[in-house]
């Protein structure tokens, strides 16, 4: 334990939730005085009855213990409200714990939010000085690193412009640049990488690895599982204020976290016709799912390089050459991305349908869609005559999610913008 730079023992943080004043962030003196005056009266009237509780204790962190060794990059993951931010706030001494103890064997600098203390009226130059001081740099240190910071942020030309006239990209670059040049033994990073363009993100990542390679310790909180998998040597998974998992198997922890995450939100990747619906004289669909290569409907977000199949089962009642099946694919914003039908190829390649139970399947190409959540709706038609299962009308929908596995390239770590994220091959032609 002696080489641990951070030791956290049984850490707990309790917040008291006020039920009466939920909408008010601060109390008015009037209410305090009123309740103080009223309470002896109330006690007198009620006798020994306890007053109805208007407050409730909420443990944002409970019995959290872990330790971090020097030079480790620890990814802290968990859903919103899992206690990540509270943990960081305690480690960076913004708020005090209610229980437990933390031992820090190094100075801590936190980037809980880049640009903290930036003042819109001040110029870039002035903000570098101010922000440096806020983050705990000495003036001599800021002056020494000033040029480096400016160069990193790529804002040379705008140094004497008030930052309120900066583009949001410039603003973030400058803010991160100041913070990135801190030299603490422990750096706490929270979600800063969510902003900035791809090139700048790469720069930030490089800077973070540099910091880690310099023997410094980084605590990294992010919802970006790709970044966590690629950057961190260790992961800490939090759920409801408690440590779920903690260890060096980053990929495993991330996968289990994502898996567990999905159980609570019912976005099933399978539909089964349980109530005899969509009963049509030509065909009745019975089963519609996105399955993995083992033939099981997805229960967790799939990695983008996984082989997935869309599977449709139905009871064919009449042989009709015009009968086809397929799906329509929608993204998170309900934009229709594509259709795929059994009759898309040349006629000789169509699956032969026979009377009785039929199953058709279609492989989804790996590394084609981007990270995200998708909705798939079944469609069945007797071509040009009867569209009896019609997307956005009467068709059952299933959901699936793609997370991670975007590429094996070291330069493609984050989800890119765009609907699709195909990995296409480049070759030299000359």
């Amino acid at each position: 334990m002696s080489d641990s730079i951070i030791v956290v023992e049984n850490l707990g943080k309790r917040y008291t939730i006020r039920h009466q004043h939920e909408r008010q962030r601060y109390v008015a003196l009037r209410d305090v005085l009123a309740s103080k005056l009223a309470s002896p009266l109330r006690r007198f009237r009620r006798g020994v009855q306890p007053p109805t509780p208007s407050t409730e204790d909420f443990w944002a962190l409970k019995d959290v213990s872990f330790d971090v060794k020097q030079g480790e990059v620890v990814g802290i993951i968990g859903r919103n409200g899992a206690g990540k931010s509270t943990l960081l706030k305690i480690l960076s001494r913004i708020t005090e714990p209610t229980k437990g103890r933390v031992t820090l064997r190094g100075r801590v600098a936190s980037l809980l939010e880049v640009g903290t203390g930036f003042h819109p009226e001040l110029t870039g130059r002035e903000n570098i000085l101010l922000n440096g001081a806020i983050l705990g740099m000495a003036r001599a240190e800021i002056n020494r690193k000033f040029d480096e910071i400016v160069e990193f942020a790529e804002v040379e030309k705008f140094l004497d412009t008030p930052v309120k006239r900066y583009s949001s990209g410039m603003y973030v670059r400058l803010a991160f640049a100041v913070a990135a040049h801190l030299e603490p033994e422990i750096l706490i990073v929270d979600e800063v990488l969510a902003v900035g363009d791809a090139q700048f993100q790469k720069k930030c990542l490089a800077r973070m690895s540099e910091v880690a390679e310099g023997g410094r310790t980084v605590l990294f909180v992010s919802h970006n599982m790709n970044a966590v998998e690629n950057l961190c040597t260790k992961a800490l998974s939090l759920d409801k204020g408690q440590v779920q998992e903690h260890g060096v198997d980053v990929r495993g922890i991330v996968t289990r976290y994502l898996g567990g995450n999905n159980h609570e939100e019912s976005t099933a990747s399978v539909w089964v016709n349980t109530n005899n619906s969509l009963n049509h004289p030509v065909m009745q669909p019975l089963y519609f799912a996105v399955e993995n290569s083992e033939g099981l409907p997805l229960t967790a977000p799939a990695s983008n390089n996984e082989r997935l199949f869309v599977v449709i089962r139905g009871d064919v009642r009449q042989i009709d050459p015009a009968l086809n099946m397929g799906f329509a694919l929608f993204n998170q914003d309900s934009e229709q991305l594509l259709w795929s039908l059994t009759t898309d190829g040349p006629e000789e390649c169509w699956p032969k349908l026979e009377r009785g139970l039929v199953e058709v399947r279609c492989p989804l190409p790996p590394r084609f869609l981007n990270e995200g959540s998708y909705r798939m709706e079944l469609q069945c038609t007797v071509h040009c005559r009867d569209w009896f299962v019609r997307p956005e009308h009467n068709s059952p929908s299933i959901h699936f999610e793609i997370r991670g596995g975007l590429s094996d390239s070291p330069y493609w770590i984050f989800a890119r913008p765009g609907v699709l994220a195909p990995e296409w091959k480049w070759e030299r032609t000359r």
Partner: protein
């Protein structure tokens, strides 16, 4: 932060443990106080046409109004030029009132810093008082010019002025800390502070001197700690006129010192929950 070997550095965070590192941290973050004060000064006069002149216009106009008031009310002119008599009192009052206004709102105004970064919170209201102090120095310069214009020379008493300045500083800080901490939890103080400032302007010896107050009300009147401070300012600037009243001065010192101690203590006690409440 100074370079420190990580081997020798150990910090333990436990409930209620902030105390032991506090004063050391306050010293280590002293530059932050300088930067915050500097920020407030720079920002205040950005995009203003006449800039720092605003620091002079308000006290100068206050002085003119009170000089006119003294004439209209038929208060007997003193032995020193009226503008100087009044301005010597306006200066500490202006410092006190703007320091109090700014420090009491400073924590809430810097909520984003408090909920994001650690540093001893005492720095924020202190920086606000320091900002007001810069304006104070400017008005002091204006007073010197005014005295030069009227040909009024201070006596040896001017050497004692720094002590009264210190007293004014302590009073502003003490009360400012109290109100700043209270304001975090009870925003009512947003409305109370302007009232204190407005009311104080009339019960402090600015338009009048302590000599205008009937003898039997003097003790009650001197409970206002600004009485001793303003009298002290006049006494040291105007060469011992009007003479100092030891009782008022003593009360002033006592109230200031106890407010400062209580203010720091209350602030320290409330400080640990600022980030959760603000």
């Amino acid at each position: 932060m100074t370079a420190m070997s990580p081997a020798g550095y150990e910090l333990i965070i436990e409930p209620g443990r902030g105390e032991s590192n506090y004063w050391r941290d306050l010293w280590r973050y002293r530059e932050l106080m300088y930067f915050l004060a500097w920020r407030d000064i720079v920002v205040r006069y950005k995009q203003t046409a006449i800039g720092v002149a605003w620091a002079l216009i308000r006290p100068a106009l206050t002085m003119l109004v009170f000089v006119a008031f003294r004439r209209l009310a038929g208060i007997e002119p003193s032995q020193v030029p009226e503008p100087i008599l009044v301005f010597a009192a306006v200066i500490p009052w202006q410092f006190f009132s703007s320091a109090l206004t700014e420090s009491s709102g400073s924590l809430v105004g810097n909520a984003n810093l408090i909920s994001k970064v650690y540093f001893p919170r005492l720095i924020i209201p202190s920086a606000a008082v320091a900002t007001a102090f810069v304006d104070f120095l400017i008005t002091l310069g204006f007073l010197a010019a005014l005295m030069l214009g009227y040909g009024v020379a201070p006596g040896w008493q001017i050497l004692i002025l720094p002590l009264f300045v210190l007293l004014a500083f302590g009073l502003s800080l003490g009360l400012g800390l109290f109100l700043a901490a209270l304001n975090v939890e009870y925003r009512d103080f947003r409305y109370i502070v302007p009232f204190i400032v407005q009311f104080g302007l009339f019960v402090s010896p600015i338009a009048f001197t302590t000599a205008n107050i009937p003898e039997r009300w003097r003790t009650l009147y001197a409970l206002n700690p600004m009485v001793g401070i303003i009298d002290g300012f006049r006494w040291s600037i105007l060469g011992g006129y009007p003479p100092l009243e030891p009782q008022a001065l003593g009360l002033s010192v006592a109230v200031t010192v106890s407010l400062l101690l209580l203010g720091v203590r209350y602030f320290r006690r409330m400080e640990r929950s600022f980030a959760d409440v603000i």
